[in-house]
Point group: C2
Chain length 214, copies 2
C-alpha cells in the first residue's frame, strides 16, 4: 500500500503504534469497512464502558447499523461519543524469532457520534442498501416490509470523517542476524469463504441467490 496521502483528521485518530501502517484516506477506509461484515461499537453508559459486536454496512461517507428500536445500546449511541472498530485477519506471519511473528490485517477505528436515521424514506432506502449490498437485487424479491416492521427497526449512522486505518500486508521482517536460522519463515494467507448453502426444507424457491461472497 502507498504511504498516507493525508494526515490524521484529529489527534485522537492519529496512529501512535507502528505509524508506518497508518492510512487516513477515505478510499482505504471505505474499502476496509466494505470488506468486513462485523464491527464492534464501544460506548459509555452510566460511566461504564461497553462494547458490542454488530453487523454494519456503508453508504457514502457513513457507516450504518440497525437494530431493535428498544435496544439500550442504540439509545446510548446517539447520546454520547462512540468508537467503532473493524478488523480483518488476512494472514499469519511466521518469523525466525518469536518477537517478529505478526499478522497481516486491515483495521479501522472511527470516533464520533451516531445519529438516528428517522426519515422513513431514508430509513427504507438504507435497509434496502443493506440487504442488496449482501445479496444483490434481493430486496425486490422479498415479502415487502411492513410499516410495523419499519417502525420497530432503528437505523443509525456515523460519519467516517474521524477515522484511521491500519494495514499490514507484507512479508516477514526478521533481524538481519536471524536470517540463517533454520526455521520456516513466510506468510500463510487467511480468507473467509462461503460454504455449501443449506436450503430450508420448506423453501419454495430452490435456487440459491448470489451473495457478495460469490
Amino acid at each position: 500500500m502507498p504511504r498516507p496521502t493525508r494526515p490524521a483528521p484529529s489527534p485522537r485518530t492519529r496512529v501512535r503504534r507502528l505509524p508506518e501502517r497508518a492510512h487516513y484516506d477515505a478510499d482505504t477506509i471505505a474499502a476496509i469497512v466494505d470488506a468486513a461484515m462485523l464491527c464492534t461499537v464501544a460506548f459509555q453508559l452510566d460511566g461504564a464502558v461497553h462494547a458490542i459486536p454488530t453487523i454494519h454496512w456503508r453508504e457514502g461517507g457513513h457507516l450504518y447499523l440497525h437494530g431493535a428500536k428498544a435496544s439500550r445500546m442504540l439509545k446510548a449511541l446517539t447520546e454520547g461519543e462512540a468508537c467503532v472498530t473493524i478488523a480483518l485477519a488476512d494472514g499469519l506471519v511466521l518469523a525466525r524469532s518469536a518477537m517478529h511473528h505478526s499478522m497481516n490485517y486491515r483495521s479501522v477505528v472511527v470516533y464520533g457520534r451516531f445519529e438516528a436515521v428517522t426519515e422513513p424514506a431514508h430509513k427504507l432506502a438504507s435497509l434496502r442498501a443493506f440487504i442488496d449490498g449482501l445479496y444483490p437485487g434481493r430486496w425486490d424479491t422479498l415479502r415487502p416490509i411492513t410499516e410495523k416492521e419499519l417502525n420497530a427497526t432503528s437505523v443509525l449512522r456515523i460519519a467516517l470523517d474521524e477515522a484511521s486505518a491500519k494495514v499490514r500486508d507484507w512479508g516477514v521482517k526478521d533481524d538481519e542476524e536471524d536470517l540463517d536460522w533454520p526455521v520456516w519463515a513466510g506468510v500463510i494467507p487467511l480468507r473467509t469463504l462461503a460454504g455449501e448453502p443449506v436450503t430450508e426444507p420448506d423453501s419454495v424457491a430452490r435456487s440459491v441467490p448470489p451473495t457478495r461472497f460469490g
Copy 2:
C-alpha cells in the same frame, strides 16, 4: 446448543436483546475465545471511550494480550475497567422477509480489569503458549527470545469470570404466513481458511509448519 446452564455472573453481563441466544457457562465462552484470533478491547482514557482490535489467546480462565511496553493502551488497561468483545461470523441467514434476515454467529463480551503479567517465568510461559497455540511446537524451533525482547513486551490478562456468550446457530425463522413466499430461504455458512503459504525467498527451511488452521 443447549440452554444456559448457569445464570449471568453479574447484571452487566446479562444479555438483554434476544436472551434465547445467551450462554454463561465457562466451556462455551472458552471455546469461542479459542476459535477467534482477534478481539476488540474497549476502555476509557481521559474520560473518552477507545477501542482497539488486537490478537489474543487463552490460558485457563484468562484471556491474554501482548504488546509493546510503551503502548498507551496497555497502560490504560490496568488502570480502569475494560470490555472485551469477540465475534465470529458463521453464516448468512436468508429469510423471505427483510426483517428475518440474520446471521449465525458466536460472540463473547467480557467485563473486568486487566492485570499485568510481570513475573518473568510466567510471562515467558505465556508467550510460548501464545506461539505454540497458533503453531504447535514452534517455540522450541525459533531463535531463542532475548531478555531485551522479553523486557520490551507487556503481557496482560483478564479473567473470563464476568463474561457472556451469544450464539445463533440455527436456520431461518420466518413468519408462518410468509413460508410460501417464492424466494430462496436458507443458510450460507462462512468459514475462514488458510490459503497457499508464501515462503520468504531467503527462508533456509522450506517445509511449512502446521498451524491450528490445518
